[in-house]
């Protein structure tokens, strides 16, 4: 452990991670500033979710270091990692609500697991968290009765139940209708500011993410190919950044998956 950096909450140093022979991350460096919303973007399959799992300590990199609030994730004991995770919240792409518990019990779950608070206080806290995501009225519903957007908001209420220092969002906008899109984007921004959180959003929804993010990283082919504020990146002359932000079908990320010669295949 080292003294926590007052500027950066998460620091990724010279990170390498492989799946088989394929390098998902090849010596990447990143810093996630405290109190800001940082978005990590990139084409599908570039390892954005893997990066969240590396920050959360669910997987350990082959090489390099991940530091969260002064703690080296790879060197933490099981107990130390769980202590750190109590200060982290994550919103999974599917919501990952516990399907045998209703909305109330889902949000109360981390409180009951990690505190000895009386039921009356847990009830108050759960109602406050659900009120902040606009779903206090859905307190008795089961996860199967929620729409996709509602499930993510409940999961968000659960993620903030323990008042974490950092919230990790895995593709929060995928599969959402325009209203849910707007609701979620506004919630992420307002929760970050009101609770003085640090937020990391992994996404490939360019427009919505750029609207709320303070800082962006674009990763492709295992490298950080662009970083900066949304305005800086829109003016970047990097072909990678331009292809991604302007949704060009072909470019450094090729339209065609590597294949033998087309003519030879046909004849």
């Amino acid at each position: 452990m080292k003294p926590a950096n007052s500027e950066q909450l998460v620091e990724i140093k010279d990170l390498c991670f492989y799946r088989g022979e394929r390098a998902i991350f090849d010596h990447i460096n990143m810093s996630i500033p405290r109190g800001k919303i940082t978005a990590i973007m990139g084409p599908s399959g570039t390892g954005k979710t893997t990066l969240l799992r590396l920050i959360g300590g669910q997987i350990i990199p082959e090489q390099g270091e991940v530091w969260v609030d002064g703690e080296h994730i790879g060197e933490l004991s099981h107990k130390g990692l769980y202590q750190l995770r109590k200060r982290m919240g994550i919103l999974f792409q599917s919501g990952a609500l516990l399907t045998d518990l209703n909305v109330f019990d889902n949000v109360a779950f981390p409180l009951r697991e990690h505190s000895d608070l009386p039921d009356a206080l847990i009830k108050t806290l759960v109602h406050m968290k659900l009120q902040s995501v606009g779903l206090r009225g859905a307190v008795k519903l089961m996860p199967s009765e929620l729409s996709g957007g509602m499930a993510r908001r409940v999961a968000l209420a659960r993620a903030i139940a323990l008042d974490p220092m950092i919230l990790l969002y895995d593709e929060p906008f995928t599969g959402q209708d325009p209203i849910s899109f707007g609701v979620l984007a506004r919630l992420i921004r307002s929760l970050n500011d009101a609770l003085q959180l640090t937020s990391v959003i992994v996404s490939h929804d360019v427009q919505e993410t750029c609207e709320i993010a303070d800082y962006l990283y674009i990763i492709a082919n295992g490298k950080v190919v662009g970083q900066g504020t949304p305005e800086e990146l829109y003016q970047s002359d990097s072909p990678w950044v331009q292809q991604f932000l302007k949704a060009k079908p072909d470019g450094p990320v090729p339209f065609h998956y590597p294949a033998p010669d087309y003519a030879e295949d046909l004849i």
């Binding site: 202590q83 982290m88 999974f92 599917s94 779950f109 999961a155």
Partner: protein
């Protein structure tokens, strides 16, 4: 030729790796059982799901198995004029062998498959990952209560299977075939409590432990896809039944030979 040996080597290596994962998984789950002392409700809930909800299939199966035993026994023993021994035949067959074995196999089919599917689906919908990220160990919170519930439930279900089976034998042997009720129930007294009943219970405890371990491990270790969950449930039933039959032979050899 080299490719063939390479594939065989990889398969052997994968099997040992899986056994290692299963042992590691079991060790941490067993440690998790101690945390249930503070939270008995989790165990009671699982006892209801895996034990009480398996009662109907155990009752019906036990009844029919006892009836068939009585009928088959009668058709053989009547030729030798020793139908009064039917009571001891039915009770010994149930207590020593059929009760523990069939209960474990039925449990693997009814509760084991449900456990594997439930845990597999929790994995594929990221519920287990979410728990880990909430600093809650799924081996303690999800696996341990299910494992202990299986270990407790199977011996109890076996006792119920045996009792209902003996009553099923009574229905056929006494009520339908007219064998004297006194000889049916009287000869059953010759079942030795320590040698027969206790050994049957020990067998059922071993079977319950192994079948539930297989079920929860298959669910936990499954690939997080629809196909993976389907494979996990199939493997639970097949491996659970095979493990039960294999262990039954070993235990019988140790206890009764």
């Amino acid at each position: 030729m080299f490719g063939f040996f390479q594939r065989q080597g990889q398969a052997v290596f994968a099997t040992f790796a899986r056994l290692g994962r299963a042992s590691f998984f079991l060790w941490h789950s067993l440690i998790g059982i101690f945390s249930l002392i503070k939270r008995p409700l989790l165990l009671i809930q699982q006892l209801h799901y895996v034990g009480v909800r398996s009662l109907s299939i155990i009752l019906v199966s036990g009844l029919f198995v006892g009836m068939v035993l009585g009928l088959q026994g009668y058709t053989i023993l009547v030729n030798f004029g020793v139908t009064e021994s039917l009571g001891v035949m039915v009770s010994l067959t149930l207590v020593r062998e059929l009760g523990p074995v069939l209960t474990a196999i039925l449990f693997a089919g009814r509760a084991g498959s449900a456990l594997a599917a439930e845990i597999g689906l929790m994995k594929s919908t990221e519920q287990l990952s979410a728990m880990e990220m909430m600093a809650v160990n799924p081996l303690h919170r999800i696996i341990a209560p299910r494992l202990l519930a299986g270990i407790i439930s199977v011996p109890l279900l076996t006792l119920i299977f045996n009792a209902v089976g003996f009553l099923g034998g009574h229905v056929v042997v006494v009520s339908l075939l007219g064998v004297d009720v006194g000889s049916y129930w009287g000869t059953a007294d010759s079942v030795d409590f320590y040698n027969d009943v206790m050994n049957g219970i020990i067998k059922s405890m071993v079977f319950g432990f192994v079948v539930t371990w297989i079920a929860v491990f298959e669910g936990y270790d499954t690939a997080p896809t629809a196909e993976g969950v389907s494979r996990a449930t199939t493997r639970t039933v097949v491996n659970g039944a095979l493990a039960t039959l294999g262990l039954d032979f070993i235990l019988t050899a140790l206890m009764f030979s």
